[in-house]
């Protein structure tokens, strides 16, 4: 089986995604495309801004982990037909508002008392604003929002209104994923309470124990108000169910049905993925090495994605 795109001499460029699950998926797909389909592959680093821009302009072809409806630029490109989205490489992603487990249950081993024992849902937050006090303005709590410009930032800002938390919590922009992550890790290491937005699958959620706060069940009408900046009286709702897809440039999509078929079949089950992510984060294993390990230990998963001849080539390249 061969690829029309690669046979005509085009390099196949993957976006380097910059978080563990994305890096892992990219490494897996890259390896198969290269060794199974004989493509000339490349993974290009860049911020989401740069890579999303390049995707729309055919500077890159493949973006292995796109969250549908969670990035404005991407939505625009999809709507304009410049990016096609296929498959479901990960099923069962999650997002929401989290607090470390020790804030609710305490941690005797570290001598941490439960500071918010009755915290279960977002409705309880107002009561505990002093626990999450904002150092810049201690009369309110601090909610660590997701990086500026992401769709989740807007949703969370609207949710603060919907949950009537604007008087008791400051909406704190963390700027980037890295600084959000660092702030959380720092709080955990020091045993301090912290309230934040996060998503899964991620090493952070896989590594530490967190409690996800309950939200009203998903409701499309309310969700629409959450995505409208101008709406000052939104109603509460969990975010829409998560759909993770492979994004590809439309030109590539049109040119190469074979590879499109491959990409749309890729799927790594969460229970396999989770430990890999922690491993990548903790012991700093390179994504490519991780991919090889995955090929060796879980042939039953990836062999379903490709025709036998391709599978054989990949298998033989592993030796």
């Amino acid at each position: 089986t061969t690829s029309a795109w690669c046979n005509s001499g085009n390099p196949l460029k993957f976006a380097s995604i910059g978080w563990e699950s994305g890096d892992f998926l990219t490494a897996v797909a890259n390896y198969i495309a290269k060794n199974g389909y004989g493509c000339d592959t490349e993974t290009i680093t860049g911020t989401a801004m740069a890579t999303e821009t390049a995707m729309a302009n055919n500077g890159l072809q493949i973006y292995m982990e796109q969250w549908v409806g969670r990035n404005a630029a991407q939505e625009k490109a999809v709507a304009a037909g410049k990016i096609k989205q296929v498959g479901g490489p990960i099923v069962g992603g999650a997002e929401g508002w989290y607090v470390p487990d020790y804030v609710i249950h305490g941690d005797p081993a570290r001598n941490l008392k439960p500071l918010a024992p009755d915290l279960k849902s977002v409705a309880d937050l107002a009561k505990y604003k002093a626990v999450f006090a904002d150092p810049e303005d201690p009369s309110k709590g601090r909610f660590l929002n997701c990086p500026v410009g992401w769709t989740c930032e807007l949703e969370n800002s609207q949710k603060l209104k919907a949950y009537k938390l604007t008087d008791s919590y400051n909406n704190f922009s963390t700027g980037t994923g890295a600084s959000l992550n660092s702030a959380i890790v720092s709080a955990i290491k020091r045993g301090k309470p912290v309230l934040f937005y996060y998503w899964a699958p991620t090493p952070l959620l896989a590594e530490y124990k967190f409690v996800k706060l309950d939200e009203p069940t998903f409701n499309q009408k309310c969700y629409t108000t959450l995505r409208d900046k101008a709406n000052n009286a939104p109603c509460g709702s969990a975010s829409s169910p998560i759909q993770i897809v492979v994004g590809m440039n439309a030109k590539f999509y049109d040119a190469d049905p074979v590879l499109v078929d491959f990409f749309s079949k890729i799927n790594v089950p969460l229970d396999i993925l989770g430990p890999y992510l922690v491993d990548m984060n903790k012991s700093r294993v390179e994504p490519t090495a991780m991919a090889k390990k995955f090929f060796e230990t879980h042939p039953e998963v990836w062999k379903k994605w490709v025709p036998d001849d391709v599978a054989a080539k990949v298998a033989s390249s592993l030796k």
Binding site: E52, F172, G175, S182, R190
Partner: protein
């Protein structure tokens, strides 16, 4: 390619080391950062509470004292009005608080160090590589540990800005002082100038053009750091730039960018005016 048998890695030990510090001393550093943060918050709140016309008035007055030209003052006022009419007034105030504090600290640190460096060849040899490190070590490398130690937001932003912006000021102060005509210095010494008098009365005034170029660079670099500051949770104009990036909203980013540029030019012109040679004839 470099032979692989010669390679080693410092990744793991460094990570462990940082982890250890955050776990064991994180609270201490957070407490330290808190007082600095309170100062910053206070300035920001004061600026934000100032009515916009009063703020423009004060800046215009400053500009007049410094530049002595009505046309320039008018441009300053127009610039501020433009930022306001972009709807960026509040964010501008946050950025101003940050930048003014960072620039102030930088000047307070940079000029004395520049002076010390100019006085001794040995000190210069030690300080120069440190400056190189401060200026080229990518902010993000040390920013994550700093963030973990000091908390999100303003404090690490000021910290990073000062580290990044102080280097050209030190260098140019040093250069300026070293370029002062030795005959003039000799004359001052001959009349019994002590170190202090020599520095304040002769070397610094004659080095002023270089030092002002250093302060200009400090201003520029401090404002160039506004976006980085927002990446680590400092409010202000940088947030709009980030939002513009992440949403491919070029207009939004450009608006904030223009506001940053206007702020830079105003701060620069006013400070340069104060340092300029006021010789009338």
């Amino acid at each position: 390619m470099f032979p692989t048998n010669l390679t080693f890695s410092m990744v793991a030990p460094v990570n462990d080391f940082v982890d250890g510090i955050v776990t064991n001393y994180g609270d201490f550093f957070h407490a330290m950062a808190h007082s600095v943060m309170m100062v910053l918050v206070f300035i920001e709140k004061t600026l934000q509470k100032t009515p916009w016309w009063l703020f423009i008035g004060i800046v215009a007055a400053l500009a007049f004292v410094s530049l002595r030209k009505i046309s320039q003052v008018a441009l300053v006022v127009l610039g501020l009005m433009l930022i306001g009419s972009f709807g960026l007034w509040d964010k501008m105030m946050q950025t101003t608080a940050l930048v003014v504090v960072a620039t102030f600290l930088t000047v307070m640190i940079g000029i004395p160090i520049g002076i010390i460096v100019s006085c001794s060849e040995r000190v210069r040899k030690i300080v120069l590589p440190i400056l190189d490190i401060m200026q080229t070590m990518p902010v993000f490398v040390y920013l994550i540990p700093v963030l973990m130690l000091f908390g999100l937001g303003k404090v690490p932003a000021v910290f990073a800005t000062v580290i990044y912006a102080v280097s050209p000021l030190i260098r140019l102060t040093n250069l300026g002082i070293r370029q002062v005509n030795p005959e003039v210095v000799e004359a001052a010494i001959a009349f019994g100038a002590n170190r202090w008098q020599l520095m304040l009365g002769v070397q610094l005034p004659l080095a002023m053009p270089s030092i002002m170029a250093g302060i200009n660079q400090t201003n520029m670099m401090a404002l160039a750091m506004v976006v980085v500051s927002s990446m680590i949770g400092a409010n202000g104009l940088g947030i709009d730039v980030l939002e513009g990036i992440n949403n491919q909203n070029i207009g939004l980013g450009l608006q904030a960018g223009i506001a940053i540029v206007i702020l830079a030019i105003i701060i620069d012109r006013v400070s340069q005016g104060f340092g300029a040679d006021k010789r009338s004839n």
